[in-house]
């Protein structure tokens, strides 16, 4: 790049920064979108000749199922299935071998066996396939059931619907490419219909790949930066919080658990809340996600900080205070996806919108339930959020080449 080229682009960059700052100040980023578009370096519509991310492959084989530690794909489908009657332990193993073979091929960008749309397998875009076992599966497999593998205890805020709750088996299919998710899921379901029927399916999305720098925390549809306090994969704290250890049944060690809550968000009610009220509900800034007590997004929230009037800066019922867990080994790791669907026919709401709140943890009773209990007792966000679905699954460990998912509970 010549100096002559460089100068204008630097000016453009500065202008973009100013525009972004202005957007943050007025708090309506969408409102300045049109003006910003031409001012951001790299924003002009350039053809992407490489499609590099489409070829991104996440290794399938390993000690843990890949999605537990992988960067979440931009799109995910969560599907729960109920076992058909008469499917015994031998047939469960046959099913899991089929599913493992599909997953091992598709995640590596290869067609599944008997794949009649093999071209759709050629763009994995970070595809991961995760399999979870509900209580019904473990009982049918005659495996040792972890004490927490059952429905969560009831909470006063819950308005659970059967159509979003429970299930014997869970598939999580995630990729940055939605047609890849659709194809992989179809393959898995074709290879499942002799064994189980679909109980529910929940589709979610995060920022599309390429819209944000990699690793930036997602935003939910309340506009909040969502998941800032998550532990990072590859750290001892993450492993301690997520991976099932010696206190788990032997077949689950190296695996984890997954809770999926479907949380309806009242966007019409949220519309009535001003920016200060919205930030106080959580205890974080909307623009950066940083704690209201200062610092950067990932800095700890200072629960002791007092404002000018002597009141705590973080409200006693703010979400960030109520959800806080000091001991890292007792935290959960969130895997959240937005959902938005048409409102029910009779409703005056503009949409059915919410969050698929997923959480990995080694032990649901020890980690998830106490947090949920604290939020049930008091959390300002409860005014605008309602859990309408709930399901708990054991996530068996990963497998080696030649093995299959669930082998530790079904083998021999």
């Amino acid at each position: 790049m010549t100096p002559a080229d460089n100068a204008p682009s630097r000016r453009r960059f500065l202008a973009a920064g100013a525009a972004a700052g202005a957007g943050a100040l007025v708090g309506t980023a969408a409102g300045v979108g049109a003006e910003r578009a031409g001012a951001i370096p790299g924003a002009p519509d350039r053809p992407d000749d490489a499609g590099v991310n489409g070829q991104r492959v996440v290794p399938f084989y390993g000690p843990h199922q890949a999605a537990v530690t992988a960067r979440p794909g931009a799109f995910a489908s969560f599907v729960a299935l109920d076992l058909l009657r008469g499917i015994g332990r031998d047939r469960l193993a046959a099913w899991m071998r089929l599913i493992t073979d599909d997953a091992a091929r598709l995640t590596q960008g290869r067609a599944a066996l008997a794949d009649v749309e093999p071209e759709l397998a050629a763009t994995p875009a970070g595809l991961t396939v995760t399999v979870g076992f509900g209580r019904g599966f473990v009982e049918r497999a005659r495996g040792e059931r972890p004490a927490w593998l059952q429905p969560l205890p009831p909470f006063s805020i819950d308005k659970l619907e059967d159509r979003w709750s429970g299930g014997d088996v869970l598939f999580i299919v995630s990729s940055d490419e939605p047609s890849t998710v659709a194809h992989a899921l179809r393959m898995l379901l074709k290879d499942s219909r002799a064994f189980a029927s679909v109980r529910w399916r929940q589709d979610g999305f995060r920022r599309a790949y390429g819209s944000d720098p990699s690793g930036r925390t997602m935003r939910n549809l309340f506009g909040q930066v969502d998941g800032s306090a998550n532990l990072r994969p590859g750290t001892p704290d993450f492993d301690a919080a997520v991976l099932a250890g010696d206190d788990a049944p032997a077949w689950l060690r190296g695996g984890t658990s997954f809770v999926l809550r479907r949380i309806a968000m009242d966007l019409d009610g949220w519309d009535e809340v001003d920016r200060v009220g919205r930030e106080n509900a959580v205890g974080r800034r909307l623009d950066t996600g940083a704690p209201l007590t200062g610092g950067r997004e990932r800095d700890p929230v200072d629960l002791d900080a007092k404002g000018p009037g002597g009141l705590p800066v973080i409200s006693s019922v703010a979400h960030a205070r109520r959800a806080r867990v000091e001991d890292p080994s007792l935290r959960i790791v969130r895997l959240a996806y937005n959902y938005e669907e048409p409102a029910p026919a009779a409703s005056e709401a503009l949409s059915s919108t919410g969050l698929l709140f997923g959480a990995w943890q080694a032990d649901v009773d020890r980690q998830y339930v106490p947090i949920q209990r604290a939020l049930d007792e008091a959390d300002l966000l409860n005014v605008w959020t309602t859990p309408i679905g709930s399901a708990v699954f054991a996530i068996p460990p990963g497998c080696r080449e030649g093995g299959y998912l669930g082998e530790s509970s079904l083998g021999v």
């Binding site: 047939r91 046959a94 099913w95 071998r97 089929l98 073979d101 066996l113 008997a114 009649v116 074709k190 290879d191 219909r193 002799a194 064994f195």
Partner: protein
């Protein structure tokens, strides 16, 4: 120098040939490899098995016959104009090449299955090769809606559980 390198070259070629053919003295079975093998699950009637056959030898190898405990007979079939029929002279796998057995093309036809083949079941097939040697492989059964071509065996039989759709698609 020249003589040495020529000797080395000859040795290298000999080694390469040995490696490629699994030993020129090896039988046909030791030269063929089957991958991505699967069969169409079926409750009754006929069904078929598919996969890719690779030939590491430096000579063509022909699959002359096949059998399986999961079928009363296994025939070597091809599909021509949406009609399948038995192949004359077997399946020839070219030297150093491969042969695809796939729906709508060459396949191993299970002419009658004494018991249902359920998705996830593994069926064993034995291939007889041109030199008389035999090769076993297993195919996993998949829930598959295709492979419904009409059979030109004189009786217009239909495959497995998808019998109803067979006539419509033919």
């Amino acid at each position: 120098m020249l003589a040495l390198s020529r000797a080395a070259l000859v040795a290298a070629i000999a080694l390469t040939l040995a490696a490629c053919s699994g030993g020129s003295t090896g039988d046909d079975a030791s030269s063929l490899t089957l991958t991505d093998t699967w069969a169409k699950a079926a409750d009754e009637g006929m069904t078929a098995a598919f996969g890719t056959v690779e030939n590491a030898a430096d000579r063509d190898i022909t699959i002359t016959a096949a059998r399986s405990d999961a079928a009363s007979a296994v025939e070597l079939h091809e599909v021509v104009d949406d009609v399948m029929r038995q192949v004359d002279g077997g399946f020839t796998v070219p030297a150093g090449g491969s042969l695809a057995l796939e729906p709508g093309g060459l396949h191993l036809m299970f002419m009658g299955i004494p018991q249902p083949i359920a998705p996830g079941d593994e069926v064993t097939v034995t291939l007889t090769l041109s030199d008389g040697s035999e090769l076993d492989f297993t195919a996993v059964a998949k829930d598959f809606a295709g492979a419904n071509e009409d059979y030109d065996g004189g009786m217009n039989m239909e495959t497995g559980s998808a019998a109803a759709s067979a006539e419509a698609e033919a």
